[in-house]
Amino acid sequence: MNYLPYLIWSSPFVASAFVLALHNRKAAGGISIGSIAIATLISAYELAGLSGHPVVLNISWFSLGALQVNLGMLMDGLSTIMALVVAVISLLISIYSYRYMEDDDGINRYWFFFTFFVGSMLLLVLSNNLLLLLIGWEGTTLSSYALIGHWYTDEPERWVGDADRHTLGVPAWSTPSEAAIRAIVFTSLADVAFITAIGMLYSVSGTFSISVLASSMPHVLTVMQSRGILIPFLIAFTLGAFAKSAQFPFHEWLVTAMTGPSSISALIHAATMVNAGVYLLLRFTPMFISGSLADGLSAQIEPFFIYMLIIGALTAFMMASQATVAKELKLILAYSTASQIGYMFMAIGASFFILPTVALFAAFSHMISQAIFKAALFLVAGVLIHQFGSRYIGDIRGIWKYMKYSSIAFFLAALSLSGIPPFSGFWDKDLILDLTSSAGLWAAYAVGMVVAFLTAFYIFRVIVMTFQAGPRGEVKEAKRSMMWPYLLLGVAALLFGILWPYALGNISGRIYIAMTFDSIIKWVPAQVVSQIPFNLVMSVPSVAVSLAGIFLAYFLYRGGKQPSISKGKAGGMFGAIYAFLYDRWFINAVYYRVFVNGLLEVSTLLGVFVEAKFFDGIYHNYIPNAFARVSGRFRRLQSGDFDRFIGLMFLGLLALIIIFLIFLR
């Protein structure tokens, strides 16, 4: 058996153990980068060696009675390509981090959780076992907590949000240690539903193995339907994915997750964490679709996909709209991530209605595009924030003049995000829009178009504002070892786009798709890929709205000017809209007022009234006092009167005799 693939996820874990054990500032970065390089090389090697069939590897782990739970790995197109993407992008980010973090106090902690993060993500991508997948899943939760809160001493420059602003009386800023709690609580809440649903799945199917589940999914869905819980089950099962991928109503954690180092933002937004949810859906949606078709449950399962479309579209629009007024560079990028993932959820939702293989492929491809350009954007942002000493785009000026290479990388990535041909972001966004319109999902299509416009607008707003001339003396280009990773990513965004149409034709045998009716996990044959429609007429409008967004940004922000609404100084309706968008649709404020404060209120009420007054009062005051009163009465019996004692003694004896008689009867 081939054990080599196990090194893909175990080498980062081993590295994290070494980082912890050695506790050596100098060695930590090298060990970590090396381990991720190993993971990258092996995943590339495994991808190259993949034949037409998924490979399942097993090492026995523990047994539950007759059931053997394995350290199972599932290597198919989806997981192997995904692993390679995760590994490559993590590798570039780790190389960037080497310099970026070299003076940091918590450098060992940084690398420990960095490698743990990458290892967890690779584990969750490659595992063929839901329990093992969960370890990776929760591992990313833990590492994101630790890394978002990396600067736990909460210096104001690490905060996100405006330090003096309140929304509905709720502070509009988050410190690193608080942002970390938000991340872990949001994702953990949803994971409870996810894990419980795995229990449901297990009790019906008797297995945790993903490749086995693929064939028993029709049965599972039928059972769920017969118990009237098909849709609730699907929602519970995917809830963890929604939270991980920062979809409404769980999106708030991602918004404040940039309190960590920028390299970590890049890691969370591009390589790990948010992609985990998309991956899980890509893994299971084909099973849901084919399972429902096999058992004639299409009508029953349809609401689930509509729900996914709605959440995806809502998140895409909501986050893009907020990005148009945000002032913090990383905040804009964070909104952008959730918004782009909304596109992916729309595609997955649409997969039920039209060409499932193609729609899922579109989501997958968009995830890769997003990973590439978002990593580049965040890494550049890290340099900009450091150089200009501010996280606000208003303070960043003249980057084209002083930082040519960084500007080029940022610009290339922004074009891909905006969906300008021939960048990769164009192809898959266009495909998603095309699919929604072909499927007659006009509402989704319309939202998608609006979001495309907003996306181009908000990212070019950043470009127009930061590229324009502005004298700043001390700004200089980043160190070379930090620069080339993101330059490479920027170029990759372009190259991936240029190769996109060819790649589908030529290396299609290596591209995942998972949808046929006889077998669930299968390679896409070339002819299926060639069916991917490219409709020139349909792509004209989507490019047009993107260009319109770019021009609007240029028109509004050129030459250093800022429209009054963007400064938050407009009155009337514009002012209200601005506040609504700037304060994140008031969702954060409502969460705090209703849930957080409500919880604390309830806690206080319970503590004061129920716990102290009621329970403590009854048990430790009322009852003891009552006993004291009773004992006071009894004390009167102890009068020292001998006759009385004798009498009582006889009474007692009598009682005992009666009790004995009853028992011996």
Binding site: W61, L64, E178, I184, V192, I195, T196, Y202, P232, F615
Partner: protein, 494 residues
Amino acid sequence: MTVTALPLGLSVLLVPFVVSVLLLVIGGRLRPRLLAYISAASLGVPLVFTSAVMALYRSYSATLLAVGGLGSFMVVINGLNWPVLLGIMAVTMAIAIYSVPYMKRRFEELGKEHWGTYFFLYTFFSASMVGIVESNNFIMFYLFLELSLISSFLLIAFYGYGDRGRVSFIYLIWTHLGAFLFLLGGFIYGMILGTFNFYPVPPNLSSIFPYVYVIIALILLGLFIKMAIFGVHVWLPYAHAEAPTPISALLSPALIGIGGYAIIRIPYILFFSYMIKLQWALIVLALVTIIYSGLLTFHQKDLKRLLAYSSIAQMGYMLLGIASFNPLGIVGAILQFYAHAVGKSLLFSSSGAIITENNGLRDITKMGGMAKEMPMTTSMAMLGFMDISGLPPTVGFFSKLFILLGVGSFLVNSGVYGFIMLIFLVVGFGITPAYSFTAMKRVFFGPSKKGFKDAGLMMMAPLIFIAILGIITFIFPGLLITPLYLYVHSLMGG
């Protein structure tokens, strides 16, 4: 009455008892550190024996004596109590060492040194917990329970904090009420059946069924008090917060968790078909316990009290696993004992490190920003909170996982109601990471403050040992889960 030759298992169990008396006698003449090593070594004897038994045979039972009308007195080790035993033994061993620096400080505060008495009571207490878990018989169970209660009561009364006279009295009364109700249930059981054995299951068990609800009610109520389930939980925050911290680290996870183990060992196995009728009531009770005490943690200013409420919530998890009436859930509940033993002992010991090194500091509002100056304590507390929140790489991941899998297996059969329950489940399981990591922030994070001091190696090494044990059992869950599942499965056949 037949007395067989003293079986190996029992003599092993008796070693720490004998040593504890020895410690009392020679206590004044030896250095505290040596006393701690002797205590730990004596507690290690049953650990080595139990581990060897599990590795070689997977189950062990030996009869000491059989008395007509009372049943037989046996020492039992099997897949079901193995994780419980491992948890108790490993933690008591480690905390014995930890006690030295902590109690040195505490004795300074009290103005007198009682090393011999302390280690006598400590070892005696630890060994009696092992005895409870290895017993097969109501009388033996009660006997060891009583020993553990008296010794822990004295530890609180002698070395506790605050109004320790009152607190230890509250502890004494409550735990004895629980023990008494339990004994009463066992008494009725034994009077009718003519044997007090709950293991092996008496052949004439069915003759008890007319009275079964009385017995179930008494035993459950008694054990609920022990576990501090909602409604009868009030004593726990007093006792566990005011006990000297090494004792909190044993009381909180180990002793109260034995209540949960006993529910599985006794009424659950004996009266399964009756207990299952109480399923919804138990589930609701478990969820109320989890959510109520989870909410109350936010209200606490005293770190140890916060941890005490968290223990109540963890007992709720254990009860929830039991209430799933599913092999996975039972596996989860027993693992929960072990995981909580690991996690909560880390947490109480970390709070103890803060207390010793910073002049008795317990008020959370005066903490914050300690991470920079107390990195070791921060790491250990973090691992503890990860454990109770069910995050890898701690064994708590598996306990929460299996409880939820068990509950999921139950909910899948209860239609839409199951999903209403799921909402409360999400709240209940979400609240633990919420208060855990909020507490991390309140205690350790935020703007750095000067003047805190991290604990030394003597204090931290035992914690590292416990933490590593938790990680090893995470990486090799089969060590615990495989024998446990086999045993549970053979009982339930499902």
